[in-house]
Amino acid sequence: MMRSLLWAETYKLFKQERTWYAVVAIFIIEVIVLIGAYYQGSNIIDILLDNLKESFYFEGELLNGNLLIYLILNSMWFNFPLILMIVISGLLTTEYKDNTLQAILLQPVSKRKLIQAKYIIATLFTVAMVLFLCVSAFALSYLFFGFGDLVVYLDELNFFTHQEARNRLISAFIAGMFPMVFYSLSSLTIAVFLKDTLKTWIVSVLFLIISNVLLKFDFKVSVLNRFFFAKLNDTWQYFFLYEIPHLKIWVNCLVLSLYIAALSFIGIRTFIKNDIG
């Protein structure tokens, strides 16, 4: 039955216009970043790095594909998870709104397996969307802006050769899957509690904003500063520190996975416990 439910969830997801709007929206964001960079980017970079250019030798143009991929990667702060949260919460809220959830549960279908299938598909869809963002960012950026060294300001200015930059960007996209899955499943869990589409969107956006605010917040408690969920959502940025803190990245991803598991557990349990209709 689980296979059939996974098939059904995937089928519904890709038959809905909302999903394709999301894919197009992500593509548009990338194109806007590229167009913006094309018309304004080189001037800004020239101003910023004018002094450095006198002291260092840079391979290729500074406004190159790697910098553009890095800029697109930064959509993982807000734009990208926001789109994901809208699509993923719709896996449940539209079913509540259209009463199809009730129609499904009138069939001999396990409530537990149904919601588990939604959580699995939400995770797989999020991973697929991060891969789409990654592949399209690399393809478009290299196609229109070519290769070159990457300059990133993260506490300090860091310079990476083209090959190193490419590897770090790929790793960052992979690490970025964890917070993206976390945000997606958060919205699905919020949908379990709120059921209503608009309320779920508002609370999800609020959750995303608060998470970003709390990232910079000093809790004065070292455990919270280290392992509170909001503090783990920038792990993908660590790949642009001069020395990559591999252990810290692994631990962060592991702890974030535990948060994801806890969120899923709460959502699934609540869904099973609640009456439908």
């Binding site: 059939s4 038959k15 009463n99 199809t100 129609a103 009138l106 069939q107 009456d275 209709g277």
Partner: protein, 285 residues
Amino acid sequence: MIIEGIDLSKSYGKTTALKGASLRCERGKVYGILGVNGAGKTTLFKILLGLLTPDTGKVIYDQSHVKPLGGIIEKPAFYDYLSAGENLKLFARIQGAASSEGHLDGLLEQVGLPVTRKDPVRNFSMGMKQRLGIAIALLNDPGALILDEPFSGLDPRGIKELTVLVRKLAVEKGLAVLISSHMVEQIQQVSDELYVINDGEIIKSGKTAQLIEESIRSYRICAPHLEISALLKSYQHEFRSEDCAEVVVSSQEIGKLVEGLAGERIFIHSCIPNIDINLLFERRV
């Protein structure tokens, strides 16, 4: 016995929606649940279908079916961006029912839907949606079908067609069909047995014809020259138009009155019972 609900109760906070309701359904019969809006019909159906957990009581099903009950609650629901065939396929696959094109087309034909329609169901009329809802409910061969207010939003032709379909499913497929409505006329036409529910309690049950008869206090009789009848004068009556009168007469006496009028060479062209709703919803002593 296909389905039995015993002493079912349900409250929402301080509001009691259902108070100790019991019912029993047999194969091949249509059971009507008659009640005003808010009487507890939908709560009862949701409990029978397992969507709500009752506070007290239990539901017993015929366990020989993979899917003991199929049903529609309030209004048929499906994925409006999919076609009828796609909806049917999706619902069939998630429950492991036969989902071959031939089988699903057969099901669409059984409920009177064209298999050639490939457009999204959002374009369908309410009547067609009810039919598709029934087709989905029939997947996996349930022993009983529960239809909550299926006549709502249908035009007279749709009501007639749905009545015929429901009767056919009970008689030809041997299904037990439970159908709720607040419309006496529709429930009278479709059901064999009737449960009257009021304020969360089942206050009456029995054969539909009998319960309806007990609630008739008058008839609207129409005949040319009805006003000259001497017999009519012995009954309390009131003329509504030149040839039609509202006559206070019980269902036991109507036959005698009609015969008497014929004896006076007054030939009736219509005789319509007026069901006293208050009497129908009155608890039996």
